[in-house]
């Protein structure tokens, strides 16, 4: 049984039996967890060959699509919830991807590494170097993360588009972080909607 804290937080936001789409679902572990914990009917979107095999191994429905080229196969509002777990920072067309999420789903859940974490800030401010940490384990030249952003950035992004934030959870190395999230949190989870 997977006991990742962020999985449990996501599960707590998802109603029993919901239709869930997980974008960039990796090995399908989150979907497998959600189908067990919440009885969701889920599909993963993935484009990595090895991850697709792992999804099949995990008994997860997986659709091979390159997210950057859109999700024409998926009808408007055909899912209750669309999840993008630790992938938004690696997308080239960030805005379009979020808009697509809210086109195909009623609600979106996004998780991302918080670039505003104090250790990242000090590495830049005092060390003068791009931060490298457990949540951002790459060097500047080999990172897949092309759009790094902070919790405050994401909230401004949602506000500017009238996306309504329904839930927020922030973790520091796997432990829920209720204080000064943008300074002390390493991972942020948001549930939001484009609906009024």
């Amino acid at each position: 049984m997977i006991t990742r804290a962020d999985f449990a937080a996501i599960a707590s936001w998802i109603p029993e039996g919901a239709r869930v789409l997980d974008l960039g679902c990796g090995d399908g572990a989150l979907l497998a967890y959600l189908s067990q914990a919440r009885g969701v009917s889920g599909y993963g979107i993935e484009n990595d060959e090895a991850s697709i095999i792992q999804c099949i191994e995990n008994g997860v429905n997986v659709i091979q699509v390159n997210l950057e080229s859109g999700m024409a196969e998926i009808a408007d509002q055909s899912f209750d919830i669309v999840i993008l777990s630790q992938t938004l920072q690696a997308m080239k067309r960030t805005e379009a991807v979020v808009a697509e999420m809210l086109r195909v789903g009623g609600e979106a859940i996004v998780t991302f590494p918080n670039f505003g974490y104090w250790k990242h800030r000090t590495q830049i401010a005092l060390g003068g170097r791009m931060p490298v940490s457990e949540d951002l384990p790459y060097q500047w030249y080999d990172t897949p993360n092309v759009h790094l952003f902070t919790i405050a950035d994401f909230e401004a992004f949602c506000a500017a588009r009238n996306y309504r934030v329904l839930n927020r959870s922030v973790f520091t190395n796997g432990v829920e972080q209720p204080f000064l999230p943008n300074l002390l949190g390493t991972l942020a989870l948001y549930r939001f909607t484009g609906r009024a």
């Binding site: 697709i52 099949i56 659709i63 091979q64 196969e73």
Partner: protein, 381 residues
């Protein structure tokens, strides 16, 4: 693994087989082979549907014939991606074919002569209906999976619609929900090559002891062009010449020589009337047509889980065509997995060894079909 072809005979008192074209077959034979062992509760059967030119000889070799591997031997066998140590795999030759099942070369018992041109046109749905009767004959109620590539994939898709309760997993490879105009056009060129051959005799060449070999060879050449990607043809043949330019119409370019060889080989073992009927079955296949063009509606009766696979360089049945099926299944809220295999070979890729392709099939059969089977058995116990 040694394969043994068998014959199932269907006749009265069974009701005659009503074909889509209106014709009725009072009796007919289906040639089939099986590999592996049917388990006690008959829950491990897998039906393999064949494409245009193949047969019931899917895997293994024939006794004493070293190079007689079945057409999908790389995929199916003991320890292979579809593991015959776990599954009972059935290959069946389609009605109207020329490898043992009743077809245009068979003797029509009413006239005592080969059917020839009188053999009715058969459809994908007719094949599926006759395959279901073969399952009855074998005492199998439900298939763990039905699987096919190209035209075989169309049959697998049709299974999910016509016999939703009899199939648990449907594996559709390098197929399409119907043919495009371009596809029908290629088929028509092939048919015209056959029908305009002076040896065709309106389809009754067998009665004249002849064969429209040249037409059949040209038909195969056209087909072959569409099975290979442009890049692959360039890689394999390019502008290569066999012995330099001779200012003649002999086969000088490598590609000419290859196509002629393939055409010649094909014309020696395939029946022209079968070719006409099989291409026509391809042309007619369009399950969405009965539902106003709505594929999702056509697939709505299905209860199976689907695995859809396409190949990036397949232009005969492109990935876009597979994505149409995926979209319809998603709209229907069906269980579906879709993989777009990166392969350079074009349509032919479905018959070849590709690590990702075979890993997908192996993992799916082991983790999804076999384990769901086991769970069902535990529940029953």
């Amino acid at each position: 693994m040694i394969a043994t072809p068998q014959l199932a005979h269907f006749a009265s008192p069974l009701p005659p087989l009503q074909l889509a074209c209106g014709a009725v077959l009072q009796q007919y034979d289906l040639a089939y082979e099986s590999y592996g062992t049917l388990n006690a509760d008959k829950s491990n059967a897998v039906l393999i549907c064949h494409a245009l030119n193949a047969s019931h000889h899917v895997a293994g070799t024939y006794e004493g014939q070293a190079e007689s591997e079945g057409w999908w031997d790389s995929m199916i066998g003991p320890g292979k991606s579809v593991d015959t140590n776990q599954f009972f795999v059935i290959g069946v030759n389609n009605l109207g074919s020329c490898f043992g099942s009743t077809g245009p070369l068979s003797i029509d018992l009413e006239t005592g002569k080969p059917y020839g041109a009188d053999f009715p046109l058969v459809t994908v749905e007719d094949w599926v209906d006759s395959q279901a009767r073969l399952l009855d004959f074998l005492g199998i109620d439900t298939l763990a999976a039905v699987m096919g590539g190209s035209l075989g994939g169309m049959q697998a898709l049709s299974w999910s619609i016509r016999y939703p309760q009899r199939v648990q997993h449907v594996v559709v490879i390098a197929a399409a929900p119907n043919l495009s105009a371009q596809n029908i056009a290629f088929n028509e060129v092939a048919r015209q090559a056959i029908m305009t051959d002076p040896d065709f005799h309106d389809g009754n060449y067998a009665r004249k002891n002849t064969v429209p070999k040249n037409g059949l060879a040209v038909a195969r050449m056209v087909g072959h062009i569409t099975y290979i990607s442009d890049d692959q043809m360039e890689t394999k043949f390019g502008r290569g010449l066999r012995e330099g330019k001779k200012f003649s119409f002999a086969p000088e370019f490598q590609i000419e020589s290859y196509l002629r060889y393939q055409g010649e080989k094909f014309s020696q073992y395939y029946d022209a009337n079968t070719y006409l009927r099989v291409t026509k079955a391809l042309d007619y296949f369009d399950p969405a047509a009965d539902c106003g063009g709505d594929l999702a509606k056509a697939l709505s009766p299905a209860v199976a889980k689907f695995l859809i696979i396409s190949f990036t360089t397949d232009w005969r049945f492109s990935p876009a065509r597979s994505r149409e099926m995926v979209k319809a299944l998603l709209d229907d809220k069906k269980n579906v997995t879709y993989v777009e295999v990166d392969a350079p070979h074009g349509h032919d890729a479905f018959l070849l060894n590709n690590a990702q392709y075979h890993a997908v099939i192996k993992t799916y059969f082991t983790r999804q079909i076999l384990s769901s089977n086991r769970t069902a058995q535990e529940v029953a116990a």
